[in-house]
């Protein structure tokens, strides 16, 4: 695997062979469904969001394509924490890649109970990723990430309950991503994922009503990349913990931009719908760029684009 030389990295307590993560909610939890070779270049795999109890997800339309984007309103469909631990985790974990457990909760009590369950299988879990950013449920989800107080309370609570690596996946809807990231850092998170989907909507013009039952839905895909990149730039400028860049990365060039802007790793979602080999081509591109610039290790790539020389003065 000399192709991957120099790509090893430790992100917020998780040791990964490459800095390319499969984002939450886009990849089958059952490894028998993974296309052959699709794990090449993958450093870690996020689970679909796990809630305490099973959830059926949202009714009505769940997907709608936009120009270079995808609106989704899946609504955290999952089998609940117990089913995750019994049915999914052992298989996921046997893939050999660190498993990042993405968890969503409505109350701090629920958060506590999920973490207690996950504590029982601590060794199979690379990190917990607190999802305080899902726009597709009415309680919990994004609400936790919008307000400084609740963000601090929830991260502090998780920190006190979970000994392993703790990541927080922030919402692009947070009034200030820099502030949100800082709160996570001071509350004990070891990495922030920036970010989740952007709040959008679609109209069903023929029926003269919103396309989604819940009106709003989360926008992902290449359309949002320039916005996510800006968030990563802002977040990376405000914290010392690693930032995982996520949102709209659909090819190696976009991944590279994320690193230059300050990301220590990237997570791929919608891009995998188009091509399951993006993790592998991303690793190739990163290696090539590093070689050309004589950058020995991927960690030295993070933030290299921040030392720019032009003046910021406007006209």
């Amino acid at each position: 695997m000399s192709k991957l030389a120099g790509l090893h990295i430790n992100v917020g307590g998780v040791s990964m062979e490459t800095p390319v993560i499969i984002a939450s909610g886009v990849w089958p939890m059952n490894p028998s469904l993974w296309p052959k070779g699709s794990l090449e270049g993958v450093g870690a795999i996020c689970s679909k969001a796990i809630t305490l109890e099973p959830r059926a997800g949202n009714r009505g339309n769940r997907l709608r394509e936009t120009h270079s984007g995808l609106l989704n309103s899946i609504g955290l469909q999952n089998g609940g924490a117990v089913s995750f631990i019994e049915n999914d985790l052992p298989a996921l974990s046997s893939s050999g890649k660190p498993v990042v457990a993405n968890i969503a909760f409505e109350t701090l009590d629920e958060l506590r109970m999920i973490i207690e369950r996950l504590n029982s299988c601590r060794d199979m879990i690379g990190a917990i990723e607190m999802n305080v950013s899902c726009p597709n449920v009415s309680m919990g989800g994004m609400a936790w990430g919008m307000d400084k107080g609740s963000l601090e309370r929830s991260v502090t609570a998780a920190r006190s309950l979970w000994e392993g690596p703790l990541w927080v996946k922030l919402s692009p809807q947070a009034p200030s991503i820099a502030t949100a990231a800082r709160i996570c850092e001071t509350s004990g998170a070891q990495a922030v994922v920036v970010g989740n989907t952007w709040l959008g909507m679609a109209m069903d013009n023929d029926r003269e009503e919103p396309f989604f039952d819940r009106v709003f839905a989360g926008l992902s895909g290449p359309a949002i990349f320039p916005l996510s990149l800006r968030l990563v730039w802002e977040a990376a400028g405000s914290v010392n913990i690693p930032v995982v860049g996520c949102g709209g990365i659909c090819g190696p060039e976009e991944a590279l931009s994320m690193f230059l802007a300050g990301a220590s790793a990237v997570a791929l979602g919608t891009g995998l719908f188009l091509d399951s080999r993006i993790p592998s081509s991303t690793c190739e591109k990163l290696s090539e760029h590093m070689k050309r610039r004589s950058i020995p290790e991927i960690k030295d790539l993070a933030g290299r684009g921040r030392h720019f020389r032009r003046l910021q003065g406007g006209a």
Binding site: G57, L63, T66, C250
Partner: protein, 263 residues
């Protein structure tokens, strides 16, 4: 979940290819062939591919289409322009580069009966186009095409050219027998016949009448909007008696009885 008909599910491949031809198939429909850069795996009737234009992100997602005549380095599709993605696809000249993901889904199960009735609503004929010929070597195969009416004359002709003994029914009676595909199927049904159906949802739901008529093995291919085609996004879920199922993995072919039709 016991919904996987095939014991060993094979995840889809991501392939690149080019449009080899794009022909009118009557009534606005298109018949296209994709030649792939690398060899295709075997596909079975009812399986499908996600098809998209290479290298651009608008349209973003592959559109699902049932494949037929898939073998070696070429695979055929039949579709109708109904929205932005399909309209664009219909306008592409031969030579256009495309991405394929597939074969996806379970496809129809191996037939157990000695007679097979294939029931299609308009474009629902696609998965049966080579199945009809393939199975008629060993089984008695009856193929039925239902169309709304006279706007579909050319398309019906195109189908008849390929399946000469096809039974055609039209709602308005202007092509073939008057009536729906389901009525036609009921009139041709014999005890122990196995029935496969593909077409618009309301038609598939009405196929339940076959059960009442004594059909034991009734399979339908359902349509859902899809993003990943490989069981990851849960965008294509279908409510079944065994719980939520993914049209792209546990489907698109389901036993009629498994589906909760009134969700």
């Amino acid at each position: 979940m016991d919904l996987l008909h095939k014991s060993k599910h094979q995840p889809p491949l991501d392939l690149k290819g080019s449009l080899a031809f794009s022909e009118a198939a009557g009534s606005g429909c298109r018949y296209i062939r994709v030649e792939t850069d690398s060899a295709l795996p075997d596909t079975s009737p009812g399986q499908f591919f996600l098809l998209r234009v290479s290298g651009v992100s608008d349209p973003l997602l592959g559109r699902p289409f049932a494949s037929f005549s898939g073998s070696g380095n070429s695979v055929d599709f039949l579709f109708r322009p109904v929205g932005r993605g399909t309209e664009l696809l219909a306008s592409l000249p031969p030579g256009t580069r495309v991405d394929l993901r597939g074969p996806c889904g379970n496809g129809f199960p191996v037939p157990r009966s000695r007679r097979l009735i294939l029931v299609a609503g308009t474009l629902g004929i696609a998965p049966f186009l080579d199945a009809a010929a393939r199975f008629s070597r060993t089984l008695g195969v009856t193929t039925i095409l239902g169309v709304p009416g006279h706007g579909w004359r050319d398309f019906s002709g195109w189908c008849r050219d390929r399946i000469p003994d096809i039974h055609i029914a039209s709602d308005d009676g202007t092509i073939g027998n008057p009536g729906t595909a389901v009525e036609e199927a009921l009139s041709l049904f014999q005890h122990e016949d196995e029935v496969w159906a593909c077409g618009p949802n309301p038609m598939l739901k009405n196929m339940g009448a076959m059960h009442s008529a004594g059909c034991e093995r009734l399979f339908v291919s359902l349509e859902r909007r899809m993003a990943c085609g490989m069981g990851g996004c849960l965008g294509c879920s279908i409510e079944t008696r065994s719980g939520s199922a993914r049209a792209c993995v546990e489907g698109p072919v389901f036993e009629w009885k498994e589906v909760l039709w009134n969700e």
